[in-house]
Amino acid sequence: MHFLVYFIFSVFLICIQTTLFPAFFRLFAQYDLLIPFVVYLTLFRSSIGVLPVILLSGCLMDLLSGGIIGIHIATYILILICFRTATVYFHFKNSILFQMVIILSVLMENIIFGMVISLQTITVNFSFYSGSVLVTQLIWAVISSPMVYFMFDYIFNRIDKLITGGLRERV
């Protein structure tokens, strides 16, 4: 059940990112909305349903994007591995830490994309455009992540209550 909810939510986020934002909020379109979602699942949700959802949504993103297949899956899996491991050492129930993790994840995604593009085009070319895309994404990550944290927390707690009748699914 949780898997289905997460998957529907990820499809909803992908739809917003590919249709609504490019049409109305062009600057926001540069920000990968699945990053905060993947981070939230990684840090605050149990393993059941998280890995398949991350795999499926990464696969969807890869299929919809013009990039090579597997780039989004690899990014999301890397985020999952890194920060799930970090939950052993850190307690992330804090919007500032969540913000930090999102910023790191955005950086991680852009580094992976940059490496892949550089391998594809042979020459390494860091243009002003690349810099502006990265900075825009980081700014959005900083601005939106606390809001996103509270929003996800609220939505998924409500959904948990609906599904389990008060028992929260937590790590």
Binding site: Q17, L64, T121, S127
Partner: protein
Amino acid sequence: MFSKKTMVAVGAVVLIGLYIIVFSFAYLRHSSVGDVATRTALFLVSPFQAAFSSSMHLIDDIWTHYFFLISVSKENDELKKKLAQAIRKNNGCREIELSNNRLVEFVKLKQQSPFHLEAAQVIARDPSPWYKTIIINKGTDDGITAGCPVIVPKGIVGYVLTASSRDAKVLLIIDRNSSVDALVQRTRARGLTQGVTRGLCRFEFALRKRDIKIGDNVVSSGFDGIYPKGIRMGYISKVIRRNSGLFQDVELTPYVDFTTLEEVMIILRPPSQDNMED
């Protein structure tokens, strides 16, 4: 108590007296004394009259602008609704007008073009800012297959990368993975346009000895096996000719504004070069 005669006499005296008074005051009005008296009266009374009048206006204002506001407020709400409806309708009309203008261009292109064209709408864009693709609402059911060129009246958009039964993914010419064999229209200098993501293309492998100037039109050469020959792509916006090296660095600005792309045309059966020449 009084006799009738006495009553008539008193009445006559009173009338005469009244006449005298009236005529005396009428005379006084036109005299300086009357004038002074009038001014004095005005001076004394007019402030009270003004105060009274303004308080009447105030009451009237309160009545009309406060008590009547209940009905005015309702009317205002209705008018606001009507205005919102009118704005919505006007916006719809404006959208229809703009859409109509675009579609007229498409119809012209379809009529003038030697190719078999299929129109489609852009329904989504690439989720990643690093890649430039769009998704259109036509697929293999409409005869679209991978490799079909996609154009608009302004020029080349890209080509179909993959097609499902109802949708297709189009790789734009500004994507890093896109290459189009092209010609400078004026000098026939040949090169390969490659996307650089930020809405521009590079015109690669243009020999240094070739004459290429800023503003030159670039069209597809037809040698890449995807795009038919002679379709507009863009104009040269930057040329750097170094002292050494085989090629010159040329930047191409596409005619198509990819950020506002809403409808596209897909060339379903690109005619071969022989048919084109015929």
